[in-house]
């Protein structure tokens, strides 16, 4: 049986692409390095958009990355069902690309936040969270400047009503996100954006837990069974 091939897109300014590839390998996937300026998704089964500061976050976080040549391939593929996980800057890119509703603005505290964060998984039905159970609590690092999730009232109501909030901050809201939102999914459940970093909680040597591995094992199991 061939391992699931999961692409990780590197933009100029990406920081967490190597960690994301390592977490994918630990979860049993074959990580495939993808470059923002390429025009080919190389036949991958799923994609991770990693954290960092793509294009220096100039203009708005994720605003310029959205127009990278590879994103022109990714957006229609994601709309057609390709599983996509955007972590931190990747989440920002997914919102700017309109693959996910809303936007991520500078933290309400106006400070960069870096801490081990307690979260609750609220939706364990997406292709990226199926290895968790709804209500499960995790501790994984959060580190961002622009993590304040906002959406208009109507969008927010719709997200809540449809159970599309994937993860929520517990104890403390690190960035002023509306409704303590840490992650959301699109309607189909194949595109997930998450502000905290599960790839930094994949090994006990370097992370506060291994609670983040579930995002990567979820997609591996999903791809093996389909």
């Amino acid at each position: 049986m061939n391992a699931a091939r999961v692409g990780v897109i590197t933009f100029p300014g990406s920081l967490d692409d190597i960690d994301a590839m390592r977490a994918l390998r630990l979860a049993g996937a074959e990580p495939v390095a993808l470059w923002h300026a390429d025009h080919d998704l190389r036949g991958i089964d799923a994609v991770v958009l990693p954290g960092g500061f793509s294009y220096g976050d100039y203009l708005r976080a994720g605003a310029i990355a959205r127009f990278a040549p590879l994103m022109e391939q990714l957006v229609p593929a994601a709309r057609a069902g390709l599983p996509v996980l955007g972590i931190c800057n990747g989440f920002q890119v997914l919102c700017e690309s309109h693959l996910l509703p809303g936007a991520l603005l500078p933290n309400a505290s106006r400070h960069f936040v870096c801490r081990d964060q307690r979260l609750r998984i609220d939706n364990a039905d997406t292709v990226w969270t199926a290895d968790y159970s709804a209500g499960q609590e995790l501790v994984i690092p959060v580190k961002n400047m622009d993590g304040r999730y906002v959406a208009d009232e109507e969008t927010l109501t719709e997200l809540e009503a449809a159970g599309r909030v994937v993860a929520r901050y517990l104890d403390l809201n690190p960035n002023g996100s509306l409704n303590d939102i840490a992650g959301i999914t699109n309607e189909a459940g194949n595109v997930v954006g998450l502000m905290p970093h599960p790839e930094h909680a994949a090994e006990s040597l370097t992370g506060p837990s291994t609670d983040g591995l579930g995002f990567f094992t979820s997609i591996v199991k999903r791809l093996v069974t389909t």
Binding site: G102, A108, R110, A151
Partner: protein, 83 residues
Amino acid sequence: MARLAVDVMLKPEILDPQGQAIARKLPQMGFEGIAGVRQGKRFELVVEGPADEAAVERVRKIADTLLANPVIETYEVHVLSDN
């Protein structure tokens, strides 16, 4: 050559912590009577040719696709100078 400006503001319902920080500082500096501050962005574009309707439309399209995120921001296009 013409110069056009694009002013971008966060929508009024969206919290602007930078504007709030500025507003809080003002009374400490002796500036009274300011009820609120909102911080925005301004872009100035130098356009080849005249500032005609087509140029304004082109800049509006640039504002709508890149300079502003219409999910959270509003924008206005102004002609600053023509030729």
